[in-house]
């Protein structure tokens, strides 16, 4: 049977992998970090392919943004030119690859944290000495993500069903129309936040209030091993960022 890790180990893993992801300027280090992230997904039982399949549209948009970003980067040597026009440079390409890994690493971090229940994650935050509200907010974010995704999808389809052929619109009109999509999305998010706040307050939830808990998290042997392994691997990666990559 696979060991079930303490949420604090998962928080450490997510923090470590995303820290290296953000700090790395080398595509090679980002690739190594990404591969370690994938191994962690396996260890922490993340249903990676299932989640990625659900997010394929979002990933598609990320890919397009990364490609555009690479194309607009003028620094470095040209590797693709049409006449006098430089389309892609080596540095632009490296940066694009780096951005891609960063996006994937952030997603992986979220997926790792989401493998623990909201209650356990909040308890992990509290026992790490972090404010309860941080854990509560992170937990809520993870829990309501599928609901918000569904609402955003409904909003998008609802606009598409207005029967407007977007391809026939000018760029300005297209942008104006896309801007209108944000109205219901932001409104729905604010509304849900308000409802949540009212619901929490009606149950006596007060920000800054002192809370007691029945369940305390306890580190097992595999949690100590995990913490040590993650700390060592990422210490090596951070040092090598300066020395090797």
């Amino acid at each position: 049977m696979k060991p079930v890790f303490d949420p604090r180990v998962k928080l450490l893993a997510a923090t470590a992998v995303s820290t290296v992801g953000v700090m790395s300027t080398s595509p090679l280090l980002s690739l190594v970090n990404f591969l370690i992230g994938l191994i962690m997904c396996r260890i922490f039982n993340v249903e990676l392919f299932k989640i990625m399949k659900k997010m394929q549209r979002f990933l598609g948009v990320c890919m397009v943004l990364i490609i555009i970003q690479s194309l607009f980067d003028r620094s470095g040597n040209a590797i693709l030119q049409i006449g006098q026009l430089t389309i892609l440079t080596d540095i632009g390409m490296y940066r694009g690859i780096n951005y891609l890994f960063r996006v994937l690493i952030i997603l992986i971090s979220g997926m790792i944290i989401a493998t623990s229940s909201m209650k356990a994650t909040i308890q992990g935050f509290v026992q790490l000495g972090l404010p309860y509200e941080f854990g509560f907010m992170a937990g809520l974010g993870v829990r309501f993500l599928p609901l918000l995704t569904e609402e955003i999808r409904n909003t998008y389809v609802s606009m598409a069903l207005r029967g407007i052929d977007v391809n026939r619109l000018s760029l300005a009109k297209r942008l104006e129309m896309i801007g209108s999509l944000f109205i219901p999305v932001v409104y729905a998010t604010l509304l849900r936040g308000k409802a949540l706040a009212e619901s929490a307050q009606s149950r006596g939830f007060v920000i800054g209030g002192k809370r007691s808990t029945f369940e305390k998290l306890k580190f097992e042997k595999h949690d100590y091993v995990g913490t040590l392994a993650i700390s060592m691997i990422f210490a090596v990666l951070l040092v090598s960022e300066r020395l090797v990559f």
Binding site: S158, L161, R162, V166, K173, S180, P184
Partner: protein
């Protein structure tokens, strides 16, 4: 002739069959209501008509063509879909702008938009809401606005997911009359509802989703 056709449609979710081998034909101009318990799959079924949910097996035809072969905007010009939550359907700050939203982008003349908008404002009793920001309307007003906006597009068929949610008795009566008028104008309607008191007043066939199948209900 059938306008919406389900051919041997099955839908599985998490290994469980929600429907199996469903065959159904909804004629142009027909009025049908779909009832069923919570979680029976009424909304999923209705979303197949607009291609938002793809069947695990079988095909859904819209106007004799596989719904997956249409672009979403083409479906929107044939079918108007009212979501359960009207908040996802409001894109403009005012009621008037919201009603004219699609027609403006379609390049329809301002005078035509204005005339249609006025007609919808009266038909759906929205005149008192013209000074109110669209997001400050009540749930029932938003529901009526969303329905009016859909009708601005002149769809051939309407799919309405729980349109009576949040409506008081008077507004339900108004909606009932409006739906009957729409139907009399030749627009087909598929109503998804739990509201049996509301359904009984309608000249509608009633279908029920249960045990993975869809059957006509009698005794309404």
């Amino acid at each position: 002739m059938s306008y919406i056709t389900f051919k041997e449609v099955s839908y599985r979710v998490q290994g469980k069959n929600l429907f199996q081998n469903v065959n159904l034909a909804l004629a142009r101009g027909s009025f049908t209501t779909l009832v069923g318990a919570n979680g029976a799959g009424k909304t999923t079924f209705s979303k197949m008509i607009i291609g938002m949910v793809k069947p695990s097996e079988g095909t859904v035809l819209l106007d004799q063509k596989n719904v997956n072969d249409y672009k979403m905007y083409e479906i929107g010009n044939k079918v108007g879909y009212l979501f359960q939550n009207p908040n996802v359907q409001i894109f403009s700050p005012t009621v008037r702008e919201e009603l004219g939203f699609a027609l403006k982008y379609k390049g329809i003349a301002e005078t035509v938009i204005e005339a249609k908008t006025e007609k919808m404002i009266d038909r759906f009793m929205l005149r008192h809401t013209l000074e109110t920001p669209a997001y400050h309307l009540s749930q029932g007003e938003k529901q009526r606005l969303a329905l009016a906006t859909i009708l601005m597009n002149d769809p051939t068929y309407l799919v309405l997911d729980e349109p009576t949610t949040g409506l008081d008795q008077k507004r339900r009566q108004v909606l009932s009359e409006v739906l009957q008028q729409i139907h009399a104008e030749g627009i087909g309607i598929l109503l998804i509802s739990h509201d049996y008191a509301f359904i009984r007043k309608m000249p509608t066939d009633v279908l029920s989703i249960q045990n993975g199948g869809i059957a006509y209900e009698t005794g309404f």
